[in-house]
Symmetry: C3
Subunit: 332 residues, 3 copies
């Protein structure tokens, strides 16, 4: 997980302490006394980090990882380089969640920021910002020149907002980096914890969310939208992409540039969209999909498969637009 | 309707006054001077109460009711015991609404709480609670220890919140009983009046909503969700059930334990879900359904029928998952 | 565009200045020095206004227009009367947007109202209104007698609210005219800018939204709904129409009287609904449709065609209800 000022990070921890938490009893290694600085993805991990491998999809990245140790299964462990210690477990995500919570004990739940102050106390620090009334701002918040912040809006600690932004009223922004000329309409909630947990009878285990929301230049977010921050990586919306009202973007979603997302569209977690994608109202995009450039998705569609560049689809489940028209002509 | 501190209750009223309001002119009974204390469901009514019967579905409960009188139709009245006076009308729900409004004249519309005060005035009463700024709290609100209440959040009178809860910012909670370890994310609205009324040309008659929202231990409610309170009974969400962002739960819905409800799912009124139910994003559950335990409902589905335990369905309308896959394979 | 106190209007501008902005170089006319007071629709334009024609659908209105000049294409220009100067361009909407921004330079984006004050400062001006705490009110706001405004709610400048209204908490209202006995539940956002823009690589051109939201007598708007104001015309909701929670109404939509719109329904822009329309939860109505009186649309439907009076439809795309039932019986 990338280091971030948004979450207090603990550690380093001795490898043997982590092994104990995981519940592995016997392991022969010379590295037991090594210090682990972080838990990172396969490609980002250094020789001071622990990583994890949960699917053979990541075979190519796995064999190049520099991580000191890897949480994985006995089946997948052969994909890892010899230099990497294999920590074989039954449920990789469960174990990863436990180790993540060791490093980030406070990122699994959204405690409201305890450092907010009223904007009236900050007027001299933000001379070129126009505030409404009862704007509440955390510590170390940066807001660029000529930006507007609407009334009763809350900007939590360490958020960065660029120049010439317009943030509406009754908005919450946390764990987010917002570029210039971004427009967020009334009631949107940006940077909230995503819907990630390990289901456990009567006591679900929440996944720490240590990613951020990144809104690039010129993005527009409609009224009452919800944008979850990333769990491990970030949730990213590309330059000049516009979202209509009541859109829901889940954790780790990446939306490209110049996209147009109509009202009430929903994205499940970790999907990636290319540039110039157009999505009609109320469509839903399943998790972990790859949607290409210039794709057009009809209103109300349910997309459950990857879509190549320039696709045009519609339907539930979404099929090529011409097939959708043909099928529905027959059914009338 | 169960007595509740949330709504001012009038009465008792003489039976003859109620009969007059209903518009029945001639009725022969020795009980005309009896006092009616409340309007209650068939099973909860005592000999001091009036009840109602609107469908032969409730035949078994009807024949055991202890109510002094029952609003019903001439067809259904034969299902009632001899001891119960039959008040036959054309439109049972219309009449019930009128009688309910007699007892609860203020529960048909949500007037904002006039007893709120800023949390700064309450700091000594809630020593173990961490408040954000501009938290507004009504009369007789209970909040347990180690709970957090986010900024600009409003807790209306008589709400109960347990220990170790985390309530986000810009939240409204009213008419609700919230157990321990509940997490409500930013912008959720809990306990609002449901969408219940008798359609009348140019002047709909709103149904009083005298139920509550009950959130059991460990429940999580996502950002910008809306949870309506019950009309007659309560809206209930079971222990350790998690709702993602922008979920809508209508009046009287009962959701079991350990359920997982993804983003933008909508529930129409009065449905009941078992335990361990998993619902994908944007699915819709029609009203008055019975969904069993361990049911899995695919994203985007429209459920319009009861579902037995362990069902797996998908589609609009929802059909068994294997049929959905087969049908859509043929259509491609 | 109808004159409105909500938007600062510039002008008049000499016709030759507008022609220059449009990018037309040579045009022979005696009117070059005429002043243009406004940009208006074909039927509303006077001889001091400029108008536009984008489709042969408007043939009948076009031939009667009194506008001094019309932005159109070379193909469509023959539909205009001789008295009207034809300004032929490639992209009518792009040019119209530019000319609109000349007249209304501040209506293409929602800057938060800079004139708000706390309701405590207004108590004497609104003696018969019951305010919650931290209600923020702009300039020239009118609120009728016996109305309630909930806490942390924001009413921007020039809004009109009638008698006996109940406005919940955490609501924003701007650019709106609200009649008597309207009920708006917690978290609704009324009058926000619609989702209208000309897509331009890396720098979309936003359409000015100079319309309003008109809520007629007795309307109810559910919790966390979003109602966009009109772009050129108004967004209108008819008398005694009720919207459930999380409904999204886009710009220029006209909903008739006595309609019942269930939770999470979405309307794309510029559709018109008749009276007594009933729409089930999560249904979607495409843009620019004409839905008749007494229409019933099943929950989850996707309506993509006009619907005559008394239609009953369901499905995605929506088809007559009886066909929907037949098709789905076969598929089971």
């Amino acid at each position: 997980m990338s280091s971030s000022k948004f979450y207090e990070k603990k550690g380093p921890f001795p490898l043997k302490e982590i092994i104990k938490i995981i519940g592995i009893k016997e392991i022969s290694t010379n590295n037991k006394n090594s210090k682990i600085h972080s838990i990172e993805s396969l490609d980002k991990a250094t020789k001071n980090d622990i990583t994890f491998l949960n699917s053979s999809k990541y075979k190519e990245i796995a064999k190049k990882t520099k991580a000191l140790a890897c949480i994985t299964t006995s089946n997948l462990s052969k994909l890892l380089p010899e230099t990497c210690m294999k920590l074989n477990v039954k449920n990789v995500l469960y174990t990863v969640t436990h180790v993540s919570k060791l490093f980030y004990p406070a990122a699994d739940i959204d405690k409201p920021d305890q450092h907010l102050k009223g904007s009236s106390k900050f007027k001299t620090s933000y001379k070129k910002v126009k505030f409404g009334l009862n704007v509440l701002i955390g510590k170390n918040v940066k807001i660029g020149k000529n930006s507007y912040i609407g009334s009763n809006t809350i900007i939590e600690s360490n958020v960065v907002i660029g120049d010439n932004c317009i943030i509406g009223s009754l908005v919450t922004i946390k764990n987010s980096i917002i570029s210039n000329k971004v427009h967020i309409q009334d009631g949107a909630k940006i940077g909230v914890k995503g819907f990630g947990f390990i289901p456990i009878q009567d006591n679900n285990l929440r996944t720490p969310h240590v990613g951020r929301v990144i809104l690039n230049e010129g993005v527009e977010i409609g009224s009452n939208c919800t944008i979850d921050r990333g769990s491990m990586s970030d949730t990213v919306i590309g330059k000049n992409t516009f979202l209509d009202n009541q859109v829901h973007v889940a954790h780790n979603v990446h939306i490209g540039k110049n996209c147009m997302i109509a009202g009430q569209v929903g994205f499940a977690g970790s999907s990636t969209l290319g540039n110039n994608v157009i999505i009609g109202g109320q469509a839903g995009i399943s998790g972990h999909l790859k949607i290409g450039n210039n794709v057009k998705i009809g209103g109300g569609s349910g997309v459950i498969n990857d879509l190549p560049d320039n696709s045009q689809v519609m339907g539930y489940p979404a099929i090529p637009l011409r097939n959708f028209i043909r099928v529905n002509r027959n059914e009338k």
